[in-house]
């Protein structure tokens, strides 16, 4: 194991986070606060509780997940896309470092950043609504699993993308809709049965449901299923990354 290299990549990526603190941390916190104001206070006050939890409180896990998902993808995809774009990737490819170590450095940093962000948003939410976390360990488990999985997913997008447009396309056109339709702001059980079935095809539903369960013990699907789907998606992403490095796809010609 080339620990010095993993450390170098990790610290390099984290340094980028601190350098772009405003964009990295402050802007997601501001936008999440806006969600609280709009959905929680303004609209939420007209909605009675959802499954025994006040609406403002109900949306907290979904909002945290929304940020963690989008930030994980954005961090990791940009982290590996940028060296490709400016050409500094040559150094990574010529270094005595294994693919596993490269992924560990980049994905580790991206996930760290979005976990920190998720916790900050959670703390911010605590200022607006009363929070309770029934299963803190599970809460952290889901948070970490999701951050890692979607950082891997972002890493894949960053390798695949050959332009800034493509870099934005998947998060904009696929991830954001799936997140909004994945029960961030409502319980899947509130939907008519036809739509409910369709919604269950959305992988984000399982992430949010499991995460929300760790807070309030209310879930749209069983926790085991949530965990299984999350781990399943993680394995899929890992397999794709393994394939990318095995074939040199979009990295080595």
């Amino acid at each position: 194991m080339n620990f010095h290299a993993i450390r170098a990549i990790y610290l390099f990526e984290m340094a980028r986070t601190w350098r772009t603190l405003l964009q990295s941390i402050v802007s997601p916190v501001v936008s999440t606060s806006l969600y609280f104001v709009v959905f929680g206070a303004a609209i939420g006050s007209r909605i009675t509780s959802v499954e025994g939890v006040s609406y403002g409180t109900f949306i907290v896990p979904g909002l945290v997940m929304l940020s963690v998902l989008t930030q994980s993808i954005a961090n990791a995809s940009f982290g590996i896309y940028f060296p490709k774009f400016v050409g500094t990737i040559y150094e990574l490819l010529s270094a005595p470092i294994s693919y596993f170590e490269i992924v560990l450095g980049y994905v580790g940093a991206a996930a760290t950043k979005s976990i920190i962000l998720g916790l900050i948003i959670l703390a911010t939410a605590g200022l607006f609504v009363p929070l309770q976390i029934h299963h803190p360990i599970w809460m952290l488990t889901f948070l970490v699993l999701t951050a890692v999985t979607f950082s891997l997913f972002g890493f894949i997008i960053g390798i695949w993308a050959d332009g800034f447009e493509k870099l934005q396309m998947i998060p904009m056109l696929v991830v954001t809709p799936l997140t909004f339709l994945g029960g961030s702001f409502y319980s899947v059980n509130m939907l008519p049965s036809g739509w409910r079935t369709i919604t269950l095809l959305n992988p984000v539903v399982y992430l949010i449901s499991g995460f929300r369960w760790s807070f309030y013990e209310i879930a749209d699907v069983s926790v085991t299923l949530s965990l299984g789907m999350t781990v399943g998606f993680l394995v899929v992403c890992m397999t794709i990354v393994w394939w990318i490095f095995k074939t040199g796809y979009r990295l080595k010609n």
Binding site: N2, H4, V86, G87, S94, P96, K252
Partner: protein, 307 residues
């Protein structure tokens, strides 16, 4: 002593079907400065990219310090520092941070003293806290060299190190390269500037259309292919070379005032003395003379142009 880099039967075909390298065999001796010459698109950068792990090879085998670049890539790559042709640098990191990053990437523990030495050697020390984006092109080039030297490599690849660099800086870079060689580093450089190879290299390889067409000691190459030319300036205009002098294959300039004689320095008799006395007998008087040796550039052009 076994070669520090050994390339055997290396071929590279790109996905598009373009064959960039074709059966390359090349050994690099430890401690030498090897110059790889070739026209644009000859395969210089492809060859370097494969040795350094940036591109996959299609066929053949490459070892670095005895380590196979595929099966034992960690050991192989640890020995190499690469300065690519293009100025690929981060923008917002400081010089110090980016050079230290490279050292870590190559698996070496922190060593501020070494980084300091590298930066001082390359006259970058006063810029260590500057963001790279604020540096000039020549400084960025030196930052890339510093990155390559950050992990104390035994082999340094310089791909067109002085392209677009002003004369003074170029001379400075040659100085750095010589110092590195003196410290035992093997250097492989590609260049367009023949002058550079002539100035720096111990051995020269010429690559064209993906094939190595020649590898030779610089001195040997110059001697083997080097021709000398004697130019005679005439006192009076001459209409034609007299028939008696046909054996010398003289060339007469258009204005009839200069005569050029090609001769081989290795020959036992250059023919100069007899030419001069024959000219005199023919009544041709000489006002001045000049000799020139063909440069590596001429040799190179004649090699690459040959079918």
């Amino acid at each position: 002593m076994p070669p520090i880099i050994s390339v055997s039967n290396l071929s590279k075909t790109y996905g598009s079907g373009f064959k960039a390298l074709n059966g390359i065999n090349l050994d690099i001796v430890s401690g030498e400065i090897f110059a790889l010459l070739g026209p644009n698109g000859a395969g210089k950068t492809t060859l370097i990219s494969i040795i350094c792990g940036i591109a996959n090879l299609s066929q053949g085998r490459v070892t670095v310090g005895g380590h196979d670049i595929n099966t034992d890539y960690r050991a192989a790559r640890s020995l190499i520092g690469l300065v690519p042709q293009e100025l690929h640098t981060d923008a917002f990191e400081s010089v110090w941070a980016t050079v230290s990053f490279s050292r870590g990437l190559f698996g070496k523990p922190k060593n501020p003293a070494h980084i300091e030495k590298v930066l001082k050697d390359l006259s970058l020390w006063d810029k260590k806290d500057n963001k790279i984006v604020t540096l000039s092109g020549g400084m960025k080039r030196r930052v890339m060299i510093a990155k390559a030297l950050s992990h104390e490599p035994q082999i340094l690849f310089l791909d067109e190190p002085t392209a677009g660099v002003d004369v003074e800086l170029r001379k400075g870079m040659w100085e750095v390269v010589r110092t590195l060689q003196a410290s035992g580093v093997t250097i492989i450089l590609t260049t367009h500037y023949i002058e550079e190879a002539e100035e720096m290299a111990d051995r020269i390889g010429v690559i064209n259309k993906g094939e190595i067409i020649l590898v030779e000691d610089k001195a040997g190459l110059m001697q083997k292919l080097g021709k000398k030319q004697l130019k005679l300036y005439l006192q009076n205009k001459v209409e034609a070379i007299p028939a008696d002098l046909a054996a010398y294959n003289l060339e007469l300039s258009e204005d009839g005032r200069e005569v050029i004689f090609n001769y081989d320095t290795k020959g036992e008799r250059t023919g100069i003395t007899s030419l001069l006395s024959d000219l005199r007998s023919a009544g041709i008087r000489i006002s001045d003379l000049d000799t020139t040796q063909s440069s590596l550039e001429d040799i190179f052009v004649s090699l690459v142009r040959a079918p």
